[in-house]
């Protein structure tokens, strides 16, 4: 267990990170290592020295708002984008970004559909079996397995356009796994899914990992989704702000999170001031509301309401912290608001 933790140790990247990256061998059990990845679009630094290690069989989440660099990371790993700087290591061996070696070992599910809508499920799988150069005999077996995995045996010969949204998502996943990749990349895998489909998708991902020791790297802007990963990197403005297990990340936030909605927005500054002065609490404004991290929130609530001017609080709620609160603590912004890419 201690070994596993060591294996998946974070390569934290302070500004002084000067060790020759290619000089050190990744620890045993590391499948993919991303070292010092940087990329600039125009004047915007979309990736700013991102480094992380992904262990074999690990489900790893990149959590952050739109524009935080998580999708750019996937584009670099898939070779769709060549980074300005940085190195990639696959099982300890340096591989060229965008190179064939890496592309052979990954399966990708994009955010939007990548199936040929006019061809059938079976034909789509057939095309990708050829692209991945599966021998004809095993291709046939794998396609049959893939159709079963996607629960599409009965609809295998219908054009993809005629399949439901859920069927298409299942087929995408089956297609990405056809060549038994070592690493599965999922770009916002559950966007637009309802709750039951969300849960089923996750059962599938976890089930796969258990059967095949596949590593999964996924991007998400949903705190509840990231919480299901083994480890999460919280990303903002192209950087990794924190990287750990969801439990350890959440432990960074105190016991409870209180959210106060005020009757008048004008009262915000004085309210923040009151909370800081009287209760020594770190209160912050977030989207027009006051957010307070505290221990034993249920005891604090009555005292807090007493201390504020009567009638100034419209509503008050308390919840156990989530990864969304960790994001707020680290960045001072909410996970829901997009990073202002243009303004950076």
């Amino acid at each position: 267990m201690a070994d596993a933790v060591l294996d998946s140790e974070v390569v934290s990247r302070p500004a002084s990170y000067a060790a020759p990256v290619s000089g050190f061998a990744p620890a045993r059990g590391t499948l993919l290592e991303i070292a010092d990845l940087s990329h600039t679009f125009g004047h915007v630094r979309v990736l700013d020295g991102l480094s992380l290690r992904l262990a074999r069989g690990e489900i790893f989440g990149l959590l952050g708002p739109n524009g935080c660099g998580k999708s750019t990371t996937l584009r670099v790993l898939t070779g769709l984008l060549l980074p300005d700087a940085g190195e990639l290591f696959l099982s300890g061996k340096s591989v060229a970004p965008g190179g064939r070696e890496l592309r052979k070992r990954i399966g990708v599910v994009f955010q939007s559909s990548s199936l040929d809508q006019r061809l059938s499920a079976r034909e789509n799988l057939g095309l990708f079996a050829t692209l991945q150069r599966l021998p004809a005999a095993s291709a046939k077996l794998r396609i049959a397995d893939a159709l079963e995995f996607a629960q599409l045996q009965e609809r295998a010969d219908d054009p993809v356009t005629q399949l439901s949204g859920g069927m298409k998502r299942r087929l995408e996943l089956a297609r990405a796994l056809l060549h038994e990749p070592a690493l599965l990349l999922l770009d916002e895998p559950t966007t637009g899914l309802d709750e039951p489909s969300f849960r089923r998708t996750w059962q599938r991902i976890v089930g796969l990992r258990e059967r095949t020791q596949l590593s999964v790297l996924l991007t998400t802007h949903r705190a509840d989704e990231a919480a299901r990963c083994d480890r999460v990197a919280i990303m903002d403005r192209g950087r990794c702000m924190a990287l750990d297990t969801p439990e350890a990340l959440i432990a960074q936030v105190a016991g409870d999170v209180l959210t106060l909605e005020l009757r008048a927005l004008d009262d915000l500054p004085t309210t923040l001031e009151t909370l800081r002065r009287l209760f020594a609490l770190e209160a912050r404004e977030l989207a027009g509301k006051v957010v307070v991290e505290c221990e034993r929130g249920h005891e604090l609530i009555p005292r807090l309401v007493e201390a504020l001017p009567p009638g100034s609080v419209r509503s008050l709620s308390m919840h156990r912290p989530t990864l969304a609160d960790v994001f707020v603590k680290l960045t001072g912004r909410s996970l829901g608001t997009d990073t202002d890419v243009a303004g950076v």
Partner: protein, 271 residues
């Protein structure tokens, strides 16, 4: 060591072939599955040929070969138009494919981008060639005798034309990445080239039109088709001055190579 290298090269080569094969097969399957597209790409030039061909027939005289009707003169040009339209339709799918994500999945697979260019261009060219060949069935209606046709020059001219036009289409489609922009560029670039290719009227040497025709690679496509269709009975004044079969093949080949280099270059950029 050399053995290992050889087998590695072999597997890379097989990988590239697989990528090309997938894209060609897909284009052909999709095209022939859509009957409306097959009919549409044939019907439009056919109507164009019949309407313009009959309308112009009373005024058209080919100097030196007065017996040639306009329908006959116009037919090889329309065949190139069939190829041109098909090339435009099929390569426009590059934009759809990029937006729908299919192409991303192909790019992420182990094949190289050069193979993606070749596969897509060969696939489109195969579709364009099929359409051109279908249109060839009407040759007897235009007054051509099937016995006269020199198949090798005709088909090599058609194949090279299909490749050149599809590759230009691919490069423009990839570069612009918008269907509206694609239509504008193609109608400003390829349609004028077709009109000024000698397809509709001969460009006499010494005139400004003649100068444009001789500099226009598309006119070499029209010439090679004319030459193949007539065979030994090529009427006088049918081709612009100074044409020879080798020159036509050479110009078309150069067109294909230049377009391929442009397409590969555009496709290598990673935005």
């Amino acid at each position: 060591m050399t053995h290992a290298n050889a087998s590695l090269d072999d597997s890379i080569f097989a990988q590239e072939l697989a990528t090309i094969r997938v894209l060609v097969t897909r284009d052909l399957v999709r095209f022939f599955r859509e009957k409306t597209r097959v009919v549409g790409a044939l019907l439009q030039p056919l109507i164009f040929w019949l309407v313009i061909g009959s309308g112009m027939s009373s005024t058209f005289r080919l100097p030196g070969s007065e017996h040639v009707s306009y329908l006959e003169y116009f037919y090889p040009g329309v065949m190139i138009m069939v190829v041109l339209f098909t090339a435009i339709f099929t390569t426009m799918s590059v934009i759809e494919d990029r937006h729908s994500g299919f192409l991303q999945a192909v790019l992420v697979a182990p094949g190289s981008r050069v193979s993606v260019v070749l596969g897509k261009c060969l696939g489109s060219a195969a579709v364009a060639l099929s359409q051109g060949t279908l249109f060839l069935l009407l040759a007897p209606l235009a007054g051509f005798r099937l016995g006269d046709i020199l198949w090798l020059p005709l088909l090599s001219g058609l194949v090279l034309t299909c490749l050149a036009l599809c590759t230009v289409g691919f490069a423009v489609a990839w570069w612009l990445d918008s269907t509206a922009g694609y239509h504008v560029v193609m109608s400003l670039l390829l349609l004028p080239l077709w009109i000024l290719s000698g397809a509709m009227f001969p460009g006499r040497a010494g005139t400004w039109l003649g100068a444009i025709v001789s500099a226009n690679p598309m006119s070499y496509a029209v010439s090679s088709v004319r030459r193949g269709l007539y065979g030994a009975s090529l009427p006088a004044g049918m081709l612009p001055a100074g044409r020879s079969p080798w020159l036509e093949v050479l110009v078309l080949l150069g067109f294909v190579v230049a377009a391929t280099l442009a397409a590969v270059n555009v496709c290598q950029r990673r935005r």
